[in-house]
């Protein structure tokens, strides 16, 4: 179990190998990687800056991860989220979930991403080819995606 907020890129293969090293109780590992698109809502994007709330970001990610661990039998999980300057094609976020069987790993990975997107204090500011900057607006579809996990209870 772990959460990290960092400027540096991450290596998906290395993260998965570290998470599973020496374990024989894991039968399924799911990874989700969020990457930066070169366009958003019809705007072309040259680069982006990710701002966050140091301290609260880590505690929110840990809270969401702990919640996933309560809902599904996870052997291990990891959330890595980047901050700072990013360009199209760059990695933004990595979620890894490991369980004995695939159902829990798939569901927990989706849950982690849905909750992270609506509760972890990150904000994206995009810059277009003309230099114009705009804060990315939150999507209602993200709120709906997170809400479906509460309706099941």
């Amino acid at each position: 179990m772990g959460v990290r907020v960092q400027r540096e890129d991450f290596d998906i293969g290395a993260e998965v190998r570290r998470l599973a090293a020496g374990r024989t109780d894991i039968g399924a590992i799911v990874t989700f990687t969020g990457t930066m698109r070169g366009d958003n809502d019809g705007h072309r994007i040259s680069d982006m800056t990710l701002e966050h709330y140091p301290g609260m970001t880590e505690s929110e990610l840990a809270r969401v991860e702990a919640e996933a661990g309560k809902r599904w039998p996870l052997q291990a999980s990891l959330i890595v989220h980047r901050i700072g300057a990013l360009r199209p094609g760059d990695n933004i976020v990595l979620v890894v979930t490991a369980s004995a069987h695939r159902e829990a790993a798939f569901a927990a990975a989706e849950f982690l991403m849905d909750y992270l997107k609506t509760s972890a204090p990150f904000w994206k500011k995009e810059r277009g080819p003309d230099g114009a900057e705009r804060w990315v607006e939150a999507r209602q579809s993200d709120d709906r995606a997170a809400e479906r996990w509460t309706k099941r209870e």
Partner: protein
């Protein structure tokens, strides 16, 4: 009550500051009352909190609702809906 107030993303840009320590009057007891009071501090605050309904709040780094009490708060943060992931 003296409390640290922090602003993030476009709330920070509109107020022109990332954080400040403010002495709150005794009649400011909830998040909603604090927003109303902040709006009166100057045009930059009025502008920052013009869309108060979309601004999110955290007390001591945990999400809270506008009705939340400020009692015992050490750090209050205002920010737009989050857009990570």
């Amino acid at each position: 009550m003296s409390v640290k107030i922090r602003y993030f993303a476009w709330v920070r840009e509109k107020t022109g500051k990332a954080e400040e320590v403010l002495d709150l009057p005794g009649n400011v007891r909830t998040v909603a009352e604090l927003v109303t009071w902040l709006k009166g501090l100057g045009p930059e605050y009025a502008e920052a909190f013009a869309r108060a309904d979309v601004i999110r709040v955290a007390i001591d780094q945990a999400h809270v609702k506008p009705t939340a009490s400020l009692a015992g708060a050490r750090e209050i943060a205002f920010f737009p809906p989050v857009t990570g992931g």
